[in-house]
Amino acid sequence: MSNRFIVWFNDYRPDDRPRVGGKNAGLGEMINADLPVPPGFAVTTEGFETIRNHPRTVEEVRELLATVDFGDPPGIRELSRKIRSLIEALPMAADVEESIRLAYTQLCGRCKQDDVPVAVRSSATAEDLPDASFAGQQDTFLWIRGADSVVQHVKRCWSSLFTDRAMSYRHEMGHDHEVVSMSVAVQQMVDPKSAGVAFTLDPATGDRSQVAIESSWGLGEAVVSGEVTPDNFLVDKVILEIHSRTISPKHTELVMRADGNGVEWHDVTAERQQAPSVSDAELLEITRMAKAAERYFGAPQDVEWAVDRHLPEGRNIVMLQSRPETVWSRKAPRQVSEPGSGFMDSIVSTLLSPVHTRGSVPADDGEA
């Protein structure tokens, strides 16, 4: 059940956005759009505020901030360490903690698994700063199991509002540290065979008839962080044909640790490095989902997806995030027709500068 401190993704309504943050709101909307998102819930900003408004936090954080020199990176790191230890050491308010434990138990029931592994992710939000970007400034914790650990990692997410990066960013942008709040996503962990991103246009040309997909082995962090050169595919959105594929050597992958808690980087065997990290059927399914997200949100999207290794092909793709594409969406749209010119003008100019393109013949790699 959703309450003050908990909003289940599938209960999400648009007015929840301020208290669950952009990331959780996106997951809620994706579920509303019938996209396959792993189940989970948001711990609302009200939960975070019980800690931030704790008298000890208010007083000590203010004191610490007063002393810091933002031109001194080691100093900021030390400050961050102190504030974070302070927040993580404080007891969580009983009603917040109970709500989280109850929600986690219900999630285990929903997933039919005791101590279901979850991802615990930060979702920063600033009601008065709708354009502020907090992406990548806060922490994410993967393969978290058990209610105690979930509660602990929610606190670690809260404290990650005070990472040195986040504080420096707010300082540079002139934002007061109190205007930013924090919601946390607790979501069933996907065990990805492979994962990556999908753009609902070709980033190279802005061609909106294409979905560009990048993919690598293991968790999507490998692609998002730039740790590997991913496989790259171009799929025609309309006729669902894969007509460009580049397989890159993917030397490393982020996978669950052997003890089942957390993640670690593994080397990838030479053979798997050269193998495509997604099948054709999976590519087409990813394309369909990216199209659905684009249609639902009404603008080109940048989607994160994963292939669950425990589910059969056809039902194994999940979506983890969908945000508006920002580069081409800001440019003037591609206009092809020349206003005021008749069809004969167009036929003449086609004959005079014919279609030198034979687009479907793939260019040789290297020599022509």
């Binding site: 040309t205 909106r208 006729i239 007509h243 092809v336 069809f343 036929i347 030198h356 034979r358």
Partner: protein, 594 residues
């Protein structure tokens, strides 16, 4: 990798073919008289239409077709950057080269004239096409009315009493000249619309490529396809006949041929549709040796038997027109929604609309001209052959195709003159000897393997019809020079129809052999003419040596939902029957599987 193809003057005459040049009009072979021009020019072999060496009379269609095509570019519509297609024979094989307009001022001067002339056709396409269908059928009726009969011992009494003042010798010569004129007129009609149809299609194609730089060619083609066109009618009729066999339990009679089916509902339907739909060539219609269904009923009956088996196996053999049409509408709707402005959507609808107006002609003309009219024309020529056989000029009716078209006039003169004088013609001694010699030459020419092209390739191919119809592009020339192989030893061609299929190869060089195809095999052919349609129910995919996105193979495969890779240049040379292949019609690759 070589950067040029052999010169036409480097080609050796195959042993036994010496003097081949004399089998054709004197202007057809490459010659010292025009060597400078011919050597400086890039020529490609047109194996879509003329993959085999031509016999002397069959060269008629080659000359009529290319001259008529050229005439419409050059003299009727004044296509601004393009004159005609120049054409030659080398060792009996057809080589073409597009002739551009190079002078910028001349191109500019042609523009307003083109707009006025072509514009008129586009604005009145529907009415003009209706007229075309009428005059085309009239022309065929005129051809059918032509008849050749042996010269009589004496003229009928009516010739005297009605005061004709002329005799049978004049008539037979007039009939032949009339037939030739109808043939040339036929090829005028053929190109009355075609070049403009391609121009409109290219404009639509170019718009799609600009709006969506990565859009596959086949997506562009699929947006205009799926309409019911006459080109598919013959195959549709075979399917109906198969249903009649199953419904009436006529399987045993079917095995016995048309005679055994006499008096059954099968024959009722057969007789009601055989004209015109079975005036259908099992080849591409350009060779006298191509078998026409109506004269070789065993060919269509074989296909009917194949369909009967599939119906009895519970298969739905109808072409899924509704599904193709729905899918086409979905594709159009989605691409339209992806355009960035209402102006673009309007322009796109206009161009797509025009492409759809012109496309039925682009698809259908082939049935009316190459299949129906050519079938009639060859039939009439064989009747004339019978006359020559009766008069002892020829041993067999088909030997008439070893005469040049103008030599037929001379032979008729010889026959007439001797008949008039009451003496012996030279023909019965001259022609059997000459035909035997010529057959030896043509057989020797058949042993020669033509280079896909001659001379130095242009930096970039821009001539629109060359790209559209023959699929000749800078890339395909590069492929030929690189022997068509990609890095992994596979073959590359045009991604002509989407999908992937694996199966054993069946190399088929001639339409006569399509009966060898077995379920799921990959058809590997120099070309696939639309008359091969029944084969497409059997095969898993098609690979051709020559042809682009608009080649018949590409169109038919897209309609039938089969993967196809066209224009591989060396498919039939490099692939052996039985080899396991993977055909990727989306990327245009053919891979040999271990």
């Amino acid at each position: 990798m070589a950067n040029r193809f052999p010169s036409p003057f480097e080609a050796e005459t195959p042993p036994g073919a010496e003097g081949w040049e004399d089998l054709y009009t004197y202007s057809l072979p490459f010659s010292e008289d025009r060597r400078d021009y011919e050597e400086a020019t890039f020529w490609f072999q047109d194996s879509i239409h003329w993959a085999e060496p031509l016999t002397p009379w069959d060269a008629t269609w080659y000359e009529y077709a290319i001259a008529a095509l050229s005439q419409y570019n050059t003299r009727h519509y004044l296509i601004p950057p393009a004159l005609g297609i120049d054409y030659r024979l080398l060792n009996g094989y057809a080589y073409l080269t597009p002739v551009p307009v190079l002078d910028g001022a001349e191109i500019e001067a042609r523009v307003p004239q083109f707009m006025e002339r072509a514009g008129f056709y586009f604005m009145n396409w529907g009415d003009l096409y209706d007229k075309w269908l009428v005059k085309m059928k009239d022309l065929i009726a005129e051809m059918e009315a032509i008849s050749f009969s042996p010269l009589p011992e004496k003229e009928d009494m009516e010739v005297i009493t009605e005061g004709h003042g002329t005799g049978s010798g004049l008539t037979i010569q007039e009939e032949y000249r009339g037939l030739l004129n109808l043939g040339l007129k036929l090829w005028h009609y053929h190109f009355e619309f075609l070049n403009l149809g391609y121009a409109a299609y290219l404009d639509y194609f170019g718009f799609c490529k600009q709006a969506f730089p990565n859009i596959p060619d086949l997506a562009i083609a699929r947006m205009v396809a799926g309409v019911e066109v006459d080109l598919f009618r013959p195959d549709e009729e075979l399917k109906k006949l198969a249903a009649i066999v199953v419904d009436n339990g006529l399987e045993d009679q079917l095995a016995g041929g048309l005679a055994a089916l006499e008096g059954t509902p099968f024959m009722d339907h057969w007789n009601s549709v055989k004209h015109p739909w079975f005036n259908y060539s099992a080849g591409n219609g350009f060779y006298h040796s191509d078998k026409v269904w109506i004269e070789h009923p065993e060919i269509p009956l074989g296909f009917v038997a194949g369909y009967v088996e599939r119906i009895k196996a519970g298969e739905d053999i109808s072409r899924p027109i509704e599904r193709i049409r729905e899918e086409r509408d979905r594709i159009v709707e989605e691409y339209t929604a992806l355009l960035s402005s209402d102006e673009d959507r309007e322009a796109f609808q206009g161009k797509l609309g025009l492409a759809r107006v012109v496309f039925p002609y682009v698809e259908n003309h082939n049935f009316y001209v190459e299949h129906w009219s050519h079938s009639v024309m060859f039939r009439k020529m064989k009747e004339l052959g019978d006359v020559f056989v009766k008069e002892g000029f020829l041993a067999s009716r088909e030997d008439v195709f070893y005469m040049k078209r103008d030599e037929v006039n001379e032979a008729l003169w010889d026959m007439y003159s001797a008949w008039a004088v009451g003496t012996s013609p030279r023909g019965p001694v001259y022609w059997p000897r000459e035909v035997a010699r010529r057959k030896g030459i043509v057989d020797a020419l058949r042993q020669w393997t033509p280079s896909p092209a001659l001379g130095e390739p242009p930096e970039v191919v821009t001539e629109p019809f060359t790209i559209m119809l023959w699929g000749i592009t800078s890339e395909s020339i590069g492929m030929w020079l690189g022997a068509g192989e990609d890095a992994d030893g596979g073959l590359r061609g045009f991604a002509a129809s989407p999908g992937v299929a694996e199966g054993p190869a069946r190399v088929i060089m001639s339409a006569d052999d399509i009966g060898q195809l077995e379920e799921g095999e990959i058809l590997v052919a120099p070309i696939t003419a639309p008359s091969w349609a029944p084969a497409f129910g059997t095969i898993g995919a098609a690979v051709t040596d020559i042809g682009g996105m608009m080649s018949h193979a590409a169109i038919v495969c897209r309609e039938y939902g089969l993967p196809a890779v066209t224009g591989t240049a060396f498919g039939t040379r490099d692939i052996e029957t039985g080899t396991m292949l993977r055909v990727d019609g989306s990327s245009g690759t053919v891979t040999v599987l271990d």
